[in-house]
């Protein structure tokens, strides 16, 4: 399978996250929301010449920089760092996520906005 464009992946991951959320599967929803947000950030960052070096912290830094440059409507850096920590706690330690469906719905809306920005930029 060939790798896909980041903005395409961002949309696909977001759709999967929303589906998982609708099914009440919080952990998969968190994982795919995180992937969607990171893919959208990387798509936009690459267009701006910002190298995220495949590091989660650099992607969060890039989200802040994209906001500073007016390319995304919100600064999602703190949300990205928080999602990454929740994801790691659940993945490595098997801990229950400390985010509920309402939190995730709100995050989904915020992330959708940067996915849309990445799609528009790619077009």
């Amino acid at each position: 399978m060939a790798p896909k464009a980041k903005h395409t992946l961002a949309r696909e991951h977001l759709t999967t996250a929303q589906h998982e959320l609708a099914e009440g599967a919080l952990l998969p929803a968190i994982m795919f929301l995180h992937l969607a947000a990171e893919a959208a950030v990387v798509s936009l960052a690459e267009g701006e010449g910002i190298d995220t070096k495949k590091r989660h912290d650099r992607k969060a830094d890039a989200a802040q920089e994209l906001f500073r440059r007016g390319l995304v409507p919100e600064d999602l850096s703190e949300a990205l760092r928080s999602l990454n920590q929740v994801r790691k706690d659940a993945t490595y330690e098997g801990e229950d996520p400390n985010l509920d469906a309402e939190d995730l719905e709100a995050l989904s809306e915020q992330i959708e906005a940067i996915v849309v920005a990445a799609e528009e930029r790619a077009e």
Partner: protein, 257 residues
């Protein structure tokens, strides 16, 4: 449980209830933490420590690859806190904060958690108000060994999720998830064979020493190279094969070619 085959003496086998031994450990750990971090990392660690202590933390340690001085391009700064997790989202550093209460730490340690033992064995203890020290003493006095089955169960879940991500075609995410799955499989293999897993960068050598060449090669590629989706799919096959076998047979697990 106790170690099935562990025979080698290790640095952990000391009398941690001795004040002199403990003081030497703390001094050595603090010096190592200072040495192994950049100035920026030391600053972030100091901020986390200050915030954790202001919230009543009972113990704090620098753990993970930084404590072993084996950071890679993808390493986070891992900090283990006995207490509540302080705010960290404003800190511009790849951070992984593991935070539990002292009660949960004891419960998990006795239930076979390996991460807590990792911190106690290899971490740099920065502050301890009588949590890490008695835990370390208990490990030595009872021969407590992490439960490998927990790692095998986790590896199974992670391999399934990594396979799902590979199918999406997101190479970066697939590398990340496959790395998590294979390091967990490697940790199972090592623990089940009486070897304590070291940092991620050291796992491939440890697995190689056991004779599990395919898993060692896949791990090394995931940490130091840029494997394709096809290579990742092969890595998943290797991981599944390894965890499907009894521990001693898993040491020789190899894909048919």
């Amino acid at each position: 449980m106790t170690s099935p085959t562990r025979t080698k003496a290790s640095l952990i086998d000391q009398n941690w209830r001795s004040d002199a031994v403990w003081a030497a450990r703390l001094a050595s750990d603090r010096a190592r933490a200072a040495h192994n971090q950049t100035a920026a990392q030391r600053s972030v660690t100091a901020t986390v420590l200050e915030r954790a202590l202001s919230q009543g933390a009972e113990a704090v340690a620098l753990t993970g690859s930084t404590a072993r001085n084996r950071r890679t391009a993808i390493s986070d700064l891992d900090i283990h806190i006995v207490g509540s997790r302080p705010r960290f989202e404003d800190l511009n550093e790849g951070l992984d904060l593991y935070a539990t209460s002292a009660d949960v730490l004891w419960e998990r340690l006795r239930a076979g958690d390996d991460f807590i033992q990792w911190t106690l064995r290899f971490g740099c203890i920065l502050v301890d108000h009588d949590v890490f020290r008695p835990a370390l003493a208990e490990i030595v006095e009872t021969g407590l060994w992490p439960d490998p089955q927990r790692k095998r169960d986790r590896a199974k879940e992670l391999l399934a999720f990594a396979e799902r991500i590979i199918a999406t075609g997101d190479l970066d995410a697939a590398q990340d998830q496959t790395r998590a799955a294979l390091t967990t499989a490697a940790r199972w293999l090592l623990l089940a064979n009486g070897e304590f897993p070291l940092s991620r960068d050291e796992l491939s050598d440890q697995v190689l020493d056991l004779g599990c060449f395919d898993l060692a090669a896949a791990l090394s590629r995931l940490i130091h190279a840029d494997p394709t989706l096809q290579e990742l799919a092969t890595g998943i096959e290797i991981g599944r094969l390894v965890i499907s076998l009894p521990p001693r047979r898993a040491r020789r697990a190899a894909l048919a070619r």
